[in-house]
Symmetry: C2
């Protein structure tokens, strides 16, 4: 018998959002929306399914070959569940590139899918705030985007000591790889992957990866020196590099805005995605129990062009809800959230149902949130229920009160109870809710 | 060359939501959330992917065999993109059936997938408000659910003349099929399908379907009489039917609440899904250009039990965003929505960037929505941009003003312009925004 029952578990690596988890999601998303709206960003969204080719082009091998949820639809089209939002954004911008007035300031809050081994901070389905500024080539765009990233964490309650924005520039890496290290094309990808992994692996393992990429001892030494150098020192060798100059302009800007203390140059920042062309950044949690990249982004100036329209430069980031929740938990920033109902209309007995319902309708029409008891039960239980759920007021209409057009109102916060004309309920309730 | 460019079109039957469409979606969802929250309903959500078996069990042949997006994941699990929310809801309730206090009042706003031929009111991806009340067997539950459906449309601006809730009861159909018509089991499904289609096909086609189901002339006549009969007349033959009695109790309730004029008994209401067990209803648009079912729902008392826990009775409905938008359009109820930015901080020239950015930061910290110009352009163009976007205030800081700590504030609504100390900007802006 038990064989034939369906499982109550959600699909591996996904979450059910019961009301308590959903209250948190709403609270989080509202905070994110408010921050990005304060910069004039507008919401957009695309479909959950996209053509497979959209990711095959630019999203990188690992994602497409190992993590993508792709399949053929009933019409034989190869489709994929979106693993990231930027390709959809680029497609939408390309579709209207001539009509859209620049710069474009957009955000979205999509759910994304990756076939991953579920672990801390990684699930198969997660939500991700995407914030993008398109149409600007200057570092002013990076300065705004990084400000937003910082404000998001601050508005969630984090202090400047809790996180750090670490930045580098792809052109600097290109100069390092080709001009300084003179790597062969086939070495470059392997070295880039090794750098991307560096923060998560032991130093010996990192050297091993570089040896495997056929790097000489001298190349390894030069590389390690570069990766640990502050920006000032980088300038000695890379003073002419467009990447170095862009980083200098960026840091001049954030320093002048007082954001220097939360921003740091780090030449190790690579970012996994292939489409970045300039600045790349990751925001790190500084808590000893959660030292990891929370989210990141960068500049992608060639992405919109893959649709054959004019190029539109862009810079943006994606911030996942799972890592963000870990961050809030470890820093003690999780909010206490309760459901919000103003009044419980109790049910004296079955005969009073419609009378109580009619009153509930009236109060809702005045903008109150009113839950109604629909099934007769002991009065004490009804008050207990309201108390447990944090509903401050309970109204009860018995047969006597119904005859005289009255009702009993009990305030569970003060314990005060009064019987009054139904017509006087609204102002009394409004006054009591303000307490 | 053009061969190699990716398409900018979204996947067939899906939509891109540019900011203007997204503003509408936000507005719509906010209205839906407010209405259901006024009844004390709380939001929940589940994953986009569910095990295939969840739908195979109860969702009906057509949906599973022809419309479901299902595939094998990389681990060989057969999964489906959710085509409806009720099975997920039942799974989540079953998983915690003993902990959850009853009744359960939940809503969700999921996107759902069906492989359909795209047409008016039908797309492959749509969003659907789901509202469900679980744990109550009495008609008080139906009365609340139907009230919510009505309030949703009214709060969106519809009048009582714009729509009608048509209801029937599965037990009445069961009595008709088995006790009165004495149909064979194999006939029942075919006759039910014919009734479900009746409103959309010519009368002859309907009779043809009944003939195909091996109904006699007498059976057809009895059936047609039943389908067109008002509730009172139904009582003459079905007076003992639990379905009839439940309908009577329901209509007594809604009549007493003043909702009689928008509710009507209609024995033809079947609903496509297999899991309904009692009341079923559909909300019809009464506009001559859009006479169609907008959405519907019903009672499903056996759904939670398929997970092997205790049964939990439920009643609810699902309301799609595409049909709802058609409804609002045909009734002239679409809102005019603009993006909402309080202030544009202009850019006098490139040297003023950081000065302007610093002021923007200050104003945002005070809760204002501030968009900043990041690239030098003619001042006139900046004012035009603000005007076009509906931003009421523009601030400009030139080199002279920067030296004296001042700024120029222009109100585009009144044409008024003044130069004032930056320290005085905030109260002035707040005063002007209240105009």
């Amino acid at each position: 018998m038990s064989q034939s029952f369906l499982s109550v578990q959600p699909y591996k690596g996904t979450r059910d959002f019961y009301p308590e988890e959903m209250r948190f999601r709403h609270w989080l998303f509202e905070s994110l929306r408010q921050t990005v709206s304060a910069y004039g960003y507008e919401a957009y969204d695309g479909p959950m399914l996209e053509p497979f080719e959209l990711y095959a082009a630019k999203s990188g091998q690992e994602l497409v070959n190992e993590q993508l949820y792709s399949f053929e639809d009933r019409g034989g089209r190869k489709v994929a569940m979106r693993p990231e939002m930027t390709p959809t954004l680029a497609r939408m911008v390309a579709a209207r590139s001539s009509q859209l007035s620049k710069p474009i300031r957009w955000y979205s809050l999509p759910n994304l899918w990756r076939y991953e081994r579920p672990q801390r901070g990684r699930l198969r389905e997660h939500w991700q705030l995407n914030v993008d500024l398109l149409g600007l080539s200057s570092e002013a765009a990076e300065i705004e985007i990084v400000q937003i990233a910082i404000d998001i964490l601050r508005n969630l309650g984090a202090s400047s000591f809790d996180f750090e924005v670490q930045l580098s520039h792809r052109e600097l890496n290109n100069d390092l790889f080709s001009r300084v290290l003179k790597l062969q094309p086939e070495q470059t990808a392997a070295v880039a992957r090794a750098i991307d992994k560096r923060a998560k692996i032991p130093a010996e393992k990192f050297e091993e990866l570089l040896h495997e990429a056929a790097c000489s001892a001298e190349q390894i030494s030069t590389l390690k020196h570069f990766l640990d150098a502050p920006l000032l020192e980088i300038g000695e060798v890379y003073g002419e590099s467009e990447g170095y100059l862009a980083m200098c302009r960026f840091f001049d800007g954030v320093n002048a805005l007082g954001l220097g203390p939360v921003c740091r140059f780090n030449a190790s920042i690579m970012r996994g995605l292939d489409y970045y062309t300039g600045t790349v950044f990751e925001v790190y949690d500084k808590h000893p129990d959660n030292r990891r990249a929370l989210f990141g982004g960068g500049r992608y100036d060639n992405l919109v062009g893959m649709f054959g329209q004019t190029q539109v430069p862009g810079v943006g980031f994606g911030m996942g809800d799972v890592t963000l929740k870990d961050f809030l938990e470890v820093h003690g920033l999780m909010p206490e959230l309760q459901s919000h109902v103003d009044v419980l209309i109790g049910l004296f007995d079955a005969d009073m149902l419609i009378t109580s319902q009619a009153l509930a309708r009236q109060l809702r029409a005045e903008g109150l949130r009113v839950e109604a008891v629909l099934q007769p039960q002991k009065l004490g239980k009804q008050f207990q229920y309201a108390d447990k759920k944090g509903i401050p007021l309970v109204i009860m209409i018995g047969p006597d009160e119904a005859t005289t057009g009255q009702a009993t109102l009990k305030n569970l916060r003060t314990g005060e109870q009064q019987t009054l004309a139904q017509a006087d309920l609204l102002p009394t309730i409004q006054a009591q809710l303000k307490i």
